[in-house]
Amino acid sequence: MKKSAKTIGTGRVSRRSILKGGAAVAGTTLVTGFPTVWAQNLKDITLNHTGMSYSTLPDIARQASKDLGFKVEMSVVDHPGLINRMINDPKSIDVADMEIWQTKIAVPQGVLQGVEIGKVKNWDQLTPLYTTGVFNGKEVSREGDAPIEYIYLDAVDAKAFASSQTEFATFVPGVYNADTLGIRPDLVGRDITSWADLISPDFKGKAAIQNIPTNGIMDAMMALEGAGEMTYGDKGNPTQDEIQQTIARLIELKRGGHWRALWNTFDESVNLMAGGEVVIQSMWSPAVTAVQTQNVPCVYQPLKEGYRGWGNGLAMLAHLDGLKRDAAYEYMTWYNSGWVGGFIAKQGYYSSNPATAKAALSENERGFFYEGKAATADITSPTGQKTNSAGDVRDGGSYEDRFANVAVWNNLMDEAEFLYSKWNEFSAA
């Protein structure tokens, strides 16, 4: 860990020099000027950031505490755990690092307070994926819970989402990514081009799907639709019939021995892939990185049907006020000011302020992670282990190519309760 901190430190120096060279764009509110709240007792503040393991990283808290002059602490929970905590013990959280669909529960419950957009100094630099819903000149897919549909509120204490851009946000855009299937290029034995390959008989007994109903069903729907077995009105909000048929097919595949396993946690997916138990499976980007650090070839394969997008946001809990709320604004602005973007890029995620994230990366890393260029030197994980060699090109091309191609967003569907009971049948079958 120490080593990685050093590499990042040197990365910062090079960013400064890049800035001087005028290569970076829109870097106006970079790390300079933090903190802007000059209160003597600011240092006594402890801000709690609670979220899921993939984005709630102690390294971020450490750096934030250093840069901001007050203490940021991280609490890691799982998806249901976050909702549980927000509803039953909201005061134990200050800033919730939520997935977009989770706001559909939190906002009506009134546990959040709207973010005053004017107080987030770098808001206008944030990605239009979230803020306008138009990306690269094209409207972002509205299948599933697209960020634009849930980001605006009519008032600070609104219990419903606004239908147009307002002065209040549900959350400050956080990390996000476009998910696809992970494969072992050395073991699949042919080109993988479609989600349909997840259920292809070629990979009988060598495929796995995530055992997280809301995500697993999406992967299944993408696969079934890709294979031409099913069509869906809206994959982001399937009907009971569609869910039933999809699960019936998943059960059929399970009984036929198609699934080597159903994985529940991140590390299980890493072990399945690294150990050669499966050659194609649902996967998250950092898991691909983790497999690569073990020197096992693993590709996050772009597919012709597009990606399953997801996004997080930093939301303020209703109880925040006074100095602590000021600190939260400082933190949420800092979060999108470069360091975090550079750090999480190395686990495959994207920052909501791509310009500052790019500035925080070396030229090699910037080319590799954001611009679709071949690496000119080794690429390392956030913890400093090698993941790619010079000459490697990141799967899926540039940042723009990737996000212009999101087919459907992670979501909380209307029929979620029905889905859960059906998914239990799949688990038990």
Binding site: A261, N264, E417
Partner: protein, 287 residues
């Protein structure tokens, strides 16, 4: 004076009673209460009095399948651990003449317990996996062309892990009751003309039944209450009665999870009372 002496036994049992009330009675009562509450999608519990949770569980075929599969595991694991437990204890008690050696060997049985359950369970993966030790040996020696798939992520793997984890719970009580058997009884049986098997069947086995009953109780309750071993070793492909509870908790459906816990508790209590009906453990223990 008289009243004090009658209060004394109550004072003596009060620490244990308090602990039990605080850490057992109250939690179980809470679970029971919540099991009648209503569930609101992803929000959690709403106080109410409804039998819906129980009705949901009992009318859902999935739950019956899960209970069936859990019972199946319990019976298989019981048979294997019972067999191993009996013979290991028999060997330690009747074949090792030196008490110190017997105790040393008994301690050897506990060595695997020096590491955590999870590590002992996970460590089967590199052994049983597709590229694991067993498959490397099988393929390397030419016994099979293809790696054997059913070794891992299968019911077989689940049973292997259960047996590994729970056999000691069988050995300890059986060893304990066998050690109390007066060796002269065995000699007397031999003198009376009993065969070696006759002695085991007619003397050792009946006198060890307390241990077997207690071991059975441990193993059955451990298997019935497990969800992690079955999930990890079957690769999520099999479930157990407790994994239904776990699934409900994933979506904050505490009321249904509580109802399921109550049902599981009743099932385990029924099994326990059946065991105690067969063997009067209390009587045997004071023997």
């Amino acid at each position: 004076m008289n009243s004090r002496s009658s209060a004394l036994p109550y004072i003596q049992v009060s620490p244990l009673a308090l602990v039990l009330i605080l850490f057992f009675t109250i939690p179980v009562a809470l679970v029971l209460v919540v099991s009648f509450f209503r569930y609101q999608m992803l929000v959690g519990i709403v106080p109410d009095f409804t039998f819906k949770n129980y009705a949901d569980i009992l009318t859902n075929q999935t739950n019956w399948l899960l209970y069936w599969s859990t019972l199946k595991f319990a019976v298989i694991v019981l048979a294997i651990t019972g067999f191993i437990g009996f013979w290991v204890s028999y060997f330690l008690v009747f074949h090792i003449r030196n008490l110190v050696t017997a105790i040393a060997l008994f301690l050897v049985c506990t060595v695997p317990f020096w590491t955590s359950n999870i590590i002992r369970m996970i460590s089967w993966r590199p052994v049983l996996g597709r590229e694991g030790l067993v498959n490397q040996a099988l393929v390397g020696s030419g016994l099979t062309d293809q790696p054997v798939e059913w070794l891992l992520y299968s019911d077989f793997a689940v049973v292997v892990a259960y047996v590994h984890l729970f056999t000691l719970f069988m050995i300890v009580p059986i060893f304990n009751s066998m050690a109390r058997i007066d060796k002269s009884l065995l000699e007397a049986a031999m003198d009376a003309g009993a065969s070696r098997w006759g002695v085991i069947w007619n003397v050792v086995l009946p006198l060890s039944k307390t241990g077997i009953a207690l071991g059975t109780l441990f193993v059955v309750t451990l298997v019935m209450g497990d969800f992690s071993v079955v999930t990890v070793m079957s690769g999520g492909l099999s479930g157990s009665a407790a994994s239904a509870i776990f699934n409900d908790l994933q979506f904050l459906n505490y009321p249904r999870a509580a109802a399921n816990a109550v049902i599981l508790l009743i099932v385990v209590l029924l099994i326990a009372s059946a065991i105690f009906r067969l063997v009067d453990v209390r009587k045997e223990l004071v023997r």
